[in-house]
């Protein structure tokens, strides 16, 4: 089982603008943690800091600590590429590699890391696709181009691709927001199954979705353009939605804004 | 690392040319640009005839190409039917791909004889009789002349002026044109009101790019311009351009004396002018696109 992801004093910057301030949270292993909040509240930024994708944009950086077990991910000798081997990511819009087949997409991460043993790749691909709930649908279309599937299938293909490299944590940035309701349902089911093997952190703008699928929820807010985003409340999901502590959380959950 | 190589390349090009040209400028100074004598035997080098020929042929080219290119660019933006627009675009692209030597060959054997037989006498007979224009159209028996060179240049630069003008015109926002039409403007009026004012500086930039191409065109021009020394006001007389003289004299130039150096000086002048035109053109096109957005 994987370790806890421990965030301490995390701030994110674009140049000299601090856009995320002093986030402290403990992400528990083997659970689904949701990050919610109105648009622009910094949920995606926080997510991207967890696998050091935030700094890939020119001028962006993060300060503070993120520990994965004992490992300080932001230590000077930590390589972002290493970090991402353990903490994977699925994006808002499905992005399979257009020049590759379904099978090649799923094993892309493995091949790029130099693993070429055919039988091993097949095993890992099947396992990942089963976890992503897409094996039955696509097992006879492994050699078709990765781009010609429906939106929902593409997204689950991307989930399989991320799972094939066997990360311990999977970060999902609004994975269903670009999909139709049926595909959304399938993604939500997948997330529920995933938590048996990976720790999942999901960003979502849909509160009901968070309430349905997560064990813990973090609520973020950016109160004005001059001030950075902040983590307002972080608690077990059922507690947050029935008895929130912070009045701002309550206002958001009851639909008074956002 | 490799990319910096591109910068290094340009620097080396400029430095090589400058170094080679230096003796010429040291000897003649600014008289190089005003002198009318180009005499390798006596080592006297004045570039005025070539500068004149280059300017005249390019001016003819721009005068002919500009209206055609802008008209074509506007047309391509106006026509909605893909059946017309796509083939037309492809044809213009093909025009751009034809090598200069093929233009030269066709110009020399097909276009020039035709123009000499029909156009030159017609011009001499009509515009050549008018008081101010008569010196422009004095016919000569020579096969090559500046008008022919200017016309072939015009054909060659239409694609590039059209392409850049098209890009610029396409960035003019749709709603501006629709506002004009909603006011009851005719099609042409909406173009004049909404499109042209915004695209104007970009079109000027496109023209500069075309001008740069015309100034530097060597092969087709040298085959049609007559390669005659001397400065004549008649467009129907032979001329000589900077690239043409570089091409014609370079290989046989003697290694003693200043001939190579003088030719390199001409090359340097050519680079400098095309540099300035390219930079200006970029500025104008950018400005036009920024204004439109």
């Amino acid at each position: 089982m994987s370790e806890a992801l421990s965030v301490q004093g995390l701030s994110a910057w674009y140049g000299n603008d601090r856009i995320l301030a002093d986030v402290d949270m403990q992400i528990r292993p083997g659970c689904v943690t949701a990050i919610i909040g109105p648009s622009g509240c910094g949920k995606s930024t926080l997510l991207r800091c967890l696998n050091r994708m935030h700094e890939e944009v020119r001028g962006a950086r993060a300060t503070g600590t993120v520990r994965f077990g004992d490992w300080d991910l932001y230590a000077p000798d930590s390589d972002p590429t290493d970090v991402r081997r353990h903490i994977g990511m699925v994006f808002q819009r499905p992005n399979p590699f257009p020049t590759m087949t379904v099978f090649e997409n799923v094993v892309a991460g493995l091949k790029l890391r130099g693993q070429y043993d055919r039988s091993n790749l097949h095993e890992r691909a099947e396992s990942a696709m089963r976890q992503a709930g897409v094996w039955e649908e696509l097992k006879d279309r492994l050699n078709k181009p990765g781009g010609r599937l429906s939106g929902g299938q593409q997204q689950r293909l991307c989930i399989a691709r991320a799972l094939a490299v066997e990360p311990q944590v999977l970060l999902m940035d609004e994975p269903a927001s670009a999909l139709d309701p049926i595909s959304t349902q399938q993604i939500e089911d997948t997330v529920q199954q995933l938590k048996e093997t990976v720790t999942v952190v999901v960003v979502t703008h849909n509160m009901q979705q968070a309430a349905r699928i997560s064990d813990y929820t973090a609520f973020m807010l950016r109160e004005s353009n001059e001030r950075p985003s902040q983590l307002v409340e972080y608690d077990e999901t059922r507690l947050m939605f029935t008895a929130p502590t912070d009045p701002r959380t309550e206002a958001y959950i009851t639909g008074r804004f956002g | 690392m490799v990319a910096a190589g591109l910068i290094v390349l340009l620097a080396v090009v400029l430095w090589t040319l400058a170094q080679g040209a230096a003796p010429t400028f040291a000897t003649f100074g600014l008289d190089f640009f005003t002198g009318r004598q180009w005499d390798p035997v006596n080592n006297v080098y004045g570039a005025l005839p070539y500068i004149y020929g280059t300017l005249v042929t390019s001016a003819i080219a721009i005068a002919l190409a500009l209206p055609v290119s802008v008209g074509l660019a506007l047309l391509l933006n106006e026509v909605r039917s893909r059946l017309v627009r796509n083939p037309l675009t492809v044809l213009v692209d093909l025009l751009a791909a034809i090598p200069s030597i093929v233009y030269g060959l066709w110009g020399l054997f097909v276009m020039a004889p035709f123009l000499n037989k029909y156009l030159a006498p017609a011009l001499a007979g009509t515009l050549g009789r008018l008081p101010l224009l008569d010196s422009l159209f004095v016919p000569t028996p020579a096969v090559g002349n500046m008008l022919n060179a200017g016309i072939i240049l015009a054909i060659m630069i239409v694609p590039i002026i059209t392409a850049v003008s098209r890009e610029v015109i396409a960035t003019v926002p749709h709603d501006l044109r629709e506002a004009a039409l909603a006011l009851g403007a005719t099609r042409w009026e909406s173009i004049r009101m909404a499109v042209l004012p915004h695209a104007r500086s970009g079109i000027v930039g496109a023209t500069m790019l075309g001008l740069g191409r015309a100034l530097g065109e060597t092969i087709a021009v040298s085959m049609l311009v007559g390669n005659g020394l001397g400065i004549s006001t008649s467009l129907l007389s032979p001329g000589y351009t900077i690239p043409a003289v570089i091409a014609n004299e370079f290989r046989e130039a003697t290694s003693t004396g200043l001939q190579h150096s003088a030719l390199l000086a001409l090359a340097l002048v050519l680079v400098a002018i095309s540099f300035v035109l390219a930079a200006l053109s970029r500025l104008l096109v950018r400005r036009s696109e920024r204004m439109a957005s």
């Binding site: 991307c158 | 591109l6 009101m193 680079v271 095309s274």
Partner: protein
């Protein structure tokens, strides 16, 4: 600065305005015709005069002495192959690497100046490239050579490849890059194994356009490779090239040489047009695949 509309200066009757509009639109159509007619005239004549020149000996024999029947341009075809081949081998890696830098790594002043320089080199007259290479290579080697010709062509082809390749790379959607990075792949590997293959035929198109240009250039070869009546495979010696041979023959007084010139022109035109059309087809297909 007004960004709005400027009303027309005079108001005539509606009929007059409509007529004026129709007239101007007619002028636009006329411009289109005028621009395109020379293309047909040119291609037509080249076909007409060039086809008779094409026979077996045209492609297999070397330059004939004046007024001797037969003969061909084989030395020029081989020479062009040699010169453009070497130039392509040099300029493709240089061009692609520069484009990768501009698209994937470069930001700020350095990248902007590299792009600027590329544009300047793109609009530099080709004869200047010839003069420059003459000044360095020919003078140093004390000899005209195919290699010098290749270097001169590289000066022209490098920026073409860079510009078109950079455009192709930029068209690759950014989320593909992010997806690869998120799988724990180092940046250089992501570029090599994901971005470049996705841009794939766009890069091929860039090379085809550059090669088409290389085939057709006369002026730089004139000053660097000199030409040769005989077949030459040594890159360090003067070598013939098709456009160069056409240039010499066209301005000669011998009809037989002029006929050969037309033959050369038709092969050159065919090669260049085929490459350009193929490049366009590939590029359209690529846009449909990615976009």
């Amino acid at each position: 600065m007004t960004t709005g509309l400027r009303p027309p200066k005079r108001l005539h009757s509606i009929a007059a305005r409509k007529a004026k509009s129709a007239a101007f639109m007619g002028l636009l159509w006329a411009a289109g015709v005028v621009a395109v007619v020379p293309l047909f005239l040119l291609v037509g004549y080249v076909l007409m005069k060039g086809l008779p020149a094409l026979n077996a000996s045209f492609f297999t024999q070397t330059a004939p002495p004046p007024s001797v029947p037969g003969g061909g341009m084989s030395q020029a075809f081989l020479g062009t192959g040699l010169i453009v081949g070497i130039a392509t081998a040099i300029s493709v890696p240089l061009g692609v690497l520069t484009a990768v830098y501009l698209s994937e790594y470069g930001r700020g002043r350095v990248a902007a100046s590299v792009r600027f320089v590329a544009e300047i080199l793109l609009s530099t007259p080709s004869i200047v490239a010839g003069a420059f290479v003459w000044g360095i290579v020919v003078v140093a080697m004390h000899s005209f050579s195919a290699l010098a010709g290749s270097i001169a062509l590289t000066v022209l082809m490098w920026p073409i490849i860079t510009r078109a390749t950079e455009e192709s790379l930029r068209l690759v959607p950014n989320d593909l890059r992010e997806a690869a990075l998120a799988l724990g792949v180092p940046r250089w590997k992501m570029i090599l194994r994901i971005v470049i293959p996705t841009a794939g035929s766009g890069i091929l198109t860039a090379v085809m356009l550059a090669v088409a240009r290389g085939f057709g250039e006369t002026a730089p070869i004139l000053l660097t490779s000199l030409g040769n009546d005989f077949i030459n495979t040594n890159a360090l010696r003067p070598t013939d090239a098709v456009p160069l041979r056409i240039y010499t023959y066209a301005q000669s007084a011998f009809t037989q040489w002029q006929t050969l010139a037309w033959g050369g022109a038709i092969t050159l035109l065919a090669a260049v047009l085929v490459l350009s059309i193929l490049a366009r087809v590939l590029s359209d297909r690529q846009q449909r695949r990615i976009g």
